[in-house]
Symmetry: C2
Subunit: 351 residues, 2 copies
């Protein structure tokens, strides 16, 4: 649908594996002196560091995590990097290197992989991350991308999920629910296209939502902002599975409860209007939608003055003793138990 | 064929993703104090190090890299770790941590993943490596395993592929060709089984070969041995794609040539007898078979006395000026050009 069908095709089997990697990575730029050796040996080599090392990995699979009919490959490459960097920023760290392993079936021409790598390199350049290795192989079906990100942070700066204390404030960056609604819009357009292949996608009114779904940005800026504001969160996590799931992770690992205020959840105007159009509950979308790649963190109340004026940050609730439970306080001032629901549960039961 | 069909089955969907990871990794043992935080946060955290960090990653896909009809899942998990550790040892380093990402279709029950993880943990315990993170997700088809290994080495101990000098000796560990022949034996048994499902596999005479294929061991011992012998190779690589391909990598990156002596290539007696039975050329099997996970390295001639008595190490040739080319010197004392051939090329053209 949004794919460029017009491309010339070069079969992957024309190149061997080594030539393919060489070809795809020849424009890789190294940003860090600490990357001693990138692609081209048995291992990449990273200079010793006075900081602790952060490691995270994510696997994206066609038909499970993305749908090629509306995901441009360049965006897919970019997003696959973001998903991983987001985990590094959620530790209050700096992302430095990534490895990228890709498997593709022979239905993909070389030009498709070039597009994918263009997106990966765009992300690497924008976020100052070095592509240092990987594996490229054939698959029996579809495409998959496995990325490992390596970052670093001073020991005293690292923020885990388990440090939230009663009375801490619960803070979220940006706004929520956009990525999930973007997916709903794209799925609707796909269905229209399947009925009428000449239909043109109508995405103008949903541009923010579609961008949130297809080209999310990891919140590197928040790590810098927190440093500038001299705020160290007591706990932090990135929002990949939906706000409620992430809050519950923090509560479980910190052994605390929370009150989350429905009327405080930040929503973009496009999220609100599109929820009305799709007859969806915007709170439920924010709580369970996922893929927003915003950061959720807790701070000590005494740090509130430092963050209160910042338009990137919204206080959405506070931490309580575990015995008080994990609650959503509704607009009608009712307390209901917060439950974790991924997309699947939401699609089936809640909307 | 070799699979245990008798197992009870628990559907993966009965557990959520988080419960699944918790279940599979509850027996993970941490071997290194430097593993500050393993599974359970956005990132794993590794203590700062006075050494350089080594990073390598490999992707194994069902139907491409392994065939479930004769690969026990425990062996598969073990081998997937070995493939990665082998790359760390090929840098003359120590492997410390791994991340493991797995995707499986819903045809696999929980018990299958438990078997796979049992193999992974067996490898981690045997090689003193910490499982620090990963991703577990569903696939639309089959199983895939993506592992990233992290190791370390003193800067001055790291051996790259590009340091071989003319007159250096070319040395290989162990013996070659076994893993490829093991695969041929298993493929033959699979065909027998497909014709007659009551046939019992006849593997007694091929036990070494089958073990080389299904349960290879990465040569951690060689890194220690070289240290004990006070030998630092000038270049090193592990043998995953076949001897000739790896020699050519060293020659290309070191900008040198070589003479490899056919009669020096170490072959196990079972390799020789099985080559005769299968009507295969044993030299070709060693050169192109791959998956032996032995180490290939070059040393200065003055180090020869230190290694010559060691049964683990065989001198198979020497490095020359690039202008002399990359040659196989046959038993008939003819020089022929060494060419890289993976399994596919070998299956089609050379055997």
């Amino acid at each position: 649908m949004l794919e460029n069908k017009d491309q010339s095709r070069t079969s992957l089997s024309e190149l061997g594996e080594f030539k393919l990697i060489e070809h795809l990575t020849k424009q890789v730029k190294i940003h860090h002196d600490s990357t001693v050796k990138g692609i081209g040996d048995d291992c990449a080599v990273i200079e010793k560091s006075k900081k602790q090392t952060l490691v995270t990995t994510d696997l994206l699979i066609e038909g499970v995590h993305f749908d090629m009919s509306y995901t441009p490959l360049k965006h897919l490459g970019y997003k696959a990097v973001m998903v991983n960097l987001s985990d590094v920023y959620a530790m209050n760290g700096t992302a430095k290197q990534i490895t990228v392993s890709i498997a593709v079936s022979n239905r993909f021409p070389l030009e498709a992989l070039e597009e994918l790598y263009a997106g990966i390199q765009l992300a690497c350049n924008a976020y100052q991350v070095d592509l240092i290795g990987g594996d490229t192989t054939s698959s029996t079906k579809g495409m998959l991308i496995s990325i490992t990100a390596i970052g670093e942070a001073n020991k005293e700066d690292i923020v885990y999920r388990n440090g939230a204390q009663p009375n801490d404030l619960l803070v979220v960056t940006g706004d929520l629910g956009g990525a999930y609604l973007g997916l709903q819009v794209l799925e609707r357009e796909k269905q229209v296209f399947e009925v009428n292949p000449n239909a043109q996608p109508e995405l103008e009114n949903y541009s923010y939502l579609v961008e949130r779904q297809l080209k999310p940005e990891a919140r590197k800026d928040i790590v810098k902002l927190l440093k500038d504001l001299e705020v160290k969160p007591t706990a932090m996590i990135d929002i990949s599975d939906g706000l409620s799931s992430e809050i519950l992770h923090i509560c479980k690992q910190s052994e605390v409860g929370c009150n989350l205020y429905e009327d405080k959840i930040p929503l973009d105007q496009q999220v609100i209007s599109t929820c009305e159009e799709f007859n969806l509950d915007s709170t439920m979308v924010a709580l369970s939608g996922g893929e927003d790649y915003e950061l959720l963190f807790t701070i000590s109340q005494e740090d509130f003055p430092k963050i209160k004026a910042n338009p990137n940050l919204t206080v959405i609730g506070h931490i309580t003793e575990a015995s008080e439970g994990k609650n959503l306080v509704t607009r009608a001032n009712q307390k209901i138990e917060l439950v974790a629901q991924g997309w699947n549960a939401m699609n089936k039961d809640n909307l």
